[in-house]
Subunit: 402 residues, 2 copies
């Protein structure tokens, strides 16, 4: 008997009809002789609606209280799915994050899982029940409810799959799998049958958010076999696995883009050790994730440092950056919001020179100016103007024959 | 420095405007130098909406899962009120039932509080915070979420007031207090300044549900001073206290009525010891509360037994009654639903003979037939046809010069 973890996102449980559809999929997995743990998100736009309510009563709601508010959404879906399963003759029980033993740190709204104690889940599975877990949430050492940030239910599912040693973690979503580019932008984008953890991690980080980056990290660390698939169709989706086990590594697997990008620049930063640390430690302390970092060439013993963060984090980053600017004696700051990131990703890239050059040429041929460049072993990213993103993605999709 | 527990019902927190109004009342209590614990219900009709959702996916949803679903409503209100208070400059923290240390038995959907461990609440109060507790809920010994039944937030508030030794427990509601009769039915019904626990208990049990009966029991046992008052007006409401401390005891304080009444009759029940036990133990085992019980005079060594339950419980009672009927060898059963209960309540009644006779005369003068009668030291109740209830209440209100 196998063990399967299934995760259903908000659109898959948006109303009671869809919840019944989910229950049918859960039961068919169980009928194949597998134990099933299901992780659910909040129904449809409920999380956004709750956030809107909170902003009606408080302009700057405390993170702890937001977590109290938002964790109710997943708890509701979990209870409703368990009720549906029971009414269809399938024994089921719903559990909150803390009942599932999901322990996190105390950083509200973006907590990290520190440990999972799956005793209760195992006990319920052993009694022949399907266990429905409220995704996206856990409990802090202080006994407070925490959430794992946007897309956190993916992380819940993969982490549970890891600790329960599940055979597979199926992530059901409203897309058919991972594509060579966003099908809404590139008409002939095609579905990938398989991607490596590394590729998926880059794709996820780059805004092709079919899977939360932290979930991919977790899967990679614990070698959890993950499949991204449609909750509305029966076809298989995209399998995420170790690159070594893949039959052939494509040079470029896909083109990703991200419009949630803001740029911050610090001018005339003194050229001495510890400066970068001062800048980025202050941001880390404020829990702001920095993505790309570019340091320009030395000029009169002073540097310019530029980096990108998500647009969402910009309001919180501004006071931190201004303070650091004064502290380190930089001459000034600048911010940019109308930006986008376009990236090519492929695990075969590292053994194929000239990939970056092909990318830059394709963008240049379209007359698109590159503002920042960042590379890793399996991806190249460029920051460009937001209104050029559609042309950029299509040009790159064509240039690499995807 | 005093300690005040405030409870706000669903209509008082029905939308964000009203939640702000609640926050204002909380803050003014705190400004008087008191520590404040606030207990909230779910927003407006949310509980009913969640129940409707559950019934869309399952005709007979498991009680445990209903509790998982419904506890989210109070958690949302608590978080939103805490956010509102914080944004108005008042430090506040919201707690779920289990975070507040409210331990219950395992009877889902109608759990009873077994113990309260208020350590977390005291800790937060000592830090100068207003503590907002999600009402209506607790945690079972198995670690499952439980609810206390309809109106359970009242019980949460009174139980917290008892364990925290609060100076007063203010129950804010959408009525001005306890009235001599339902003002919607009797035009000149007047507000009572004070009622005894006993009177309130009878009134609450009799359908004048401004306060959950279990909450009144709790208040009586622990001598908690309770005030029922309007959340929309500033006037004082009705104080519920010990009869001994009241200045004068009225013969009849009020007329109560209840339309949530169903009658069950068992015919030709054998006249031997243990029969009543067999009938009512079976109902108790099914968690069905029996209200009035009438056993008719003996006839050929066989009796008829009739009793009333709430209409809501009738579907669950039917199979139990049919089974008991066969087991004890009764000749048959009958059920009635178009019924109502009308009652007069007053703690001075026990020392005033003739009160019941006045009641029966008033009903007879209106041509209203009495189907069942039940009396206690401080009340007389009659079961009549539902469509005669309005005339009955008005006649009694006049007969006792209320």
């Amino acid at each position: 008997m196998g063990l399967v973890v299934q995760k259903f996102g908000g659109s898959s449980v948006a109303n009671t009809e869809r919840i019944k559809n989910v229950a049918t999929r859960v039961i068919s997995e169980r009928d194949r002789g597998n134990q099933v743990v299901v992780v659910v998100s909040a129904m449809g736009d409920l999380t956004d609606e709750l956030i809107a309510l909170a902003h009606q009563v408080g302009s700057n709601p405390p993170d702890r209280e937001m977590d109290m508010l938002l964790t109710t959404g997943e708890q509701q879906s979990a209870a409703l799915l368990a009720i549906t399963l029971c009414s269809m003759g399938c024994p089921a029980v719903s559990l909150t994050g803390w009942q599932s033993g999901i322990m996190t740190d105390s950083i509200h709204c973006r907590a990290r899982i520190t440990e999972i104690k799956p005793d209760r889940i195992k006990e319920e599975l052993n009694q022949g029940k399907v266990v429905v877990v409220a995704g996206y949430q856990g409990i802090s050492p202080q006994g407070d409810l925490t959430t794992l940030g946007r897309g956190g239910s993916d992380t819940t599912a993969v982490a549970l799959a890891a600790v329960l040693k599940a055979d597979i973690c199926d992530i059901y979503t409203d897309v058919d799998g991972v594509f060579t580019a966003d099908p809404r932008i590139v008409k002939n984008a095609s579905k990938l049958d398989v991607v490596s953890y590394d590729e998926m991690l880059e794709l996820a980080s780059l805004g092709a958010v079919v899977l939360q980056p932290r979930a991919v990290e977790f899967a990679m660390q614990h070698k959890v076999k993950v499949q991204v698939r449609s909750s509305f169709k029966l076809e298989t989706g995209t399998l995420v696995m170790e690159a070594e086990k893949m039959e052939n590594n494509r040079v470029v697997s896909g083109v990703a883009h991200d419009l949630n990008v803001a740029k911050v620049a610090l001018f005339d930063v003194p050229d001495r050790p510890g400066i970068a640390r001062a800048v980025f430690k202050a941001l880390a302390d404020a829990n702001i994730n920095v993505d790309m970092i570019v340091q320009a060439a030395m000029r009169d013993e002073r540097n310019d440092i530029a980096f990108t963060i998500t647009k969402d984090d910009l309001p919180r980053a501004l006071p931190v950056v201004e303070r650091v600017c004064r502290e380190i004696g930089a001459s000034g700051t600048a911010y940019g919001e109308d930006l986008a990131k376009v990236s090519i990703v492929g695990s075969g890239m590292m053994s194929n020179p000239g990939v970056a050059a092909t990318m830059f040429a394709a963008l240049a041929d379209e007359g698109i100016n590159i503002q920042m460049i960042s590379t890793s072993e399996i991806k190249v990213s460029c920051i460009i103007a937001a209104d050029e993103i559609e042309r950029a993605v299509n040009a790159l999709h064509a240039a690499f024959n995807l």
